[in-house]
Amino acid sequence: MSDVANRVRKIVVEHLGVEEDKVVEGASFIDDLGADSLDTVELVMAFEEEFGIEIPDDAAETIQSFGDAVKFISDAV
């Protein structure tokens, strides 16, 4: 497991209050991890802060799952 994935997982676990083993590649923030639409905005904000990157709104909309987030951030950092 990559460093990015670990850091993303940590944020997701803390923010959504879910078990670590639920945060798998295909886990959808909304459908599987109980996030609401505001949570997804906040997750993106937390990712931006953690990795020192800018995630524009149109890109943020494509980040629906844990796997999406790891891929986007791995490409961006």
């Binding site: 505001l38 905005v41 906040e42 904000m45």
Partner: protein
Amino acid sequence: MFDLTGKSVLITGASGGIGGAIAHAVHQAGATVALSGTRVAPLEALAAELGERAHILPCNLSDAEAVTALPKQAADLMGSVDVLVNNAGITRDNIFMRMSDEEWAQVLEVNLTATMRLCRAVMRPMMKARWGRIVNISSVVGATGNPGQANYAASKAGMVGMSKSIAYEVASRGITVNCVAPGFITTPMTEALTDDQKAGILGQVPAGRMGDPSEIGAAVLYLASAEAAYITGTTLHVNGGMAMY
């Protein structure tokens, strides 16, 4: 109670009578203020009167880019914007049959659209901080309507609906969004009325007098305070009983 020490407040329309009184109220409660408005001289005079913890940020609210940049400028000056008070407003009165598209658009742009842009711009930092207060200054006219003011009344009623919607979205993040709806308040604008006009207005006000701008300032201070954390999506009517909701 109602201590705003350490809080930063951005106020639009601070060069006007009500805006100035809001600035005084929150500043007196310990807040740092950023005073925005179109006219620089009254802003400077107000800042000088307040002394420390007062900044000025002239801004034309018809300019979309300038509006969007305003909260960032305020945050650069003060460290953050914890409280946003959308007080700026204009009127372009005309009977409805003769109201031009331009009169309609100008009023909606400054009163409603600029308010929306400012609310949107402060949302992200307030969400991060898990604390925020937005107080939008509506008007009794937004609730009652007023002949000659279809545009103004629409903008002020629009503000109420918008505030409620934002309040829903961000309530769980410690951010409250409320409106204050002033009735007839003594300001340079209402001082221009004739005695006959004033008597006519006072006939509609059970309290039998015009309101003082400081009474709007006090209402805003309350809604901006930590004590008002459980109030969101509401409109506080400050009108001497002129219209009761």
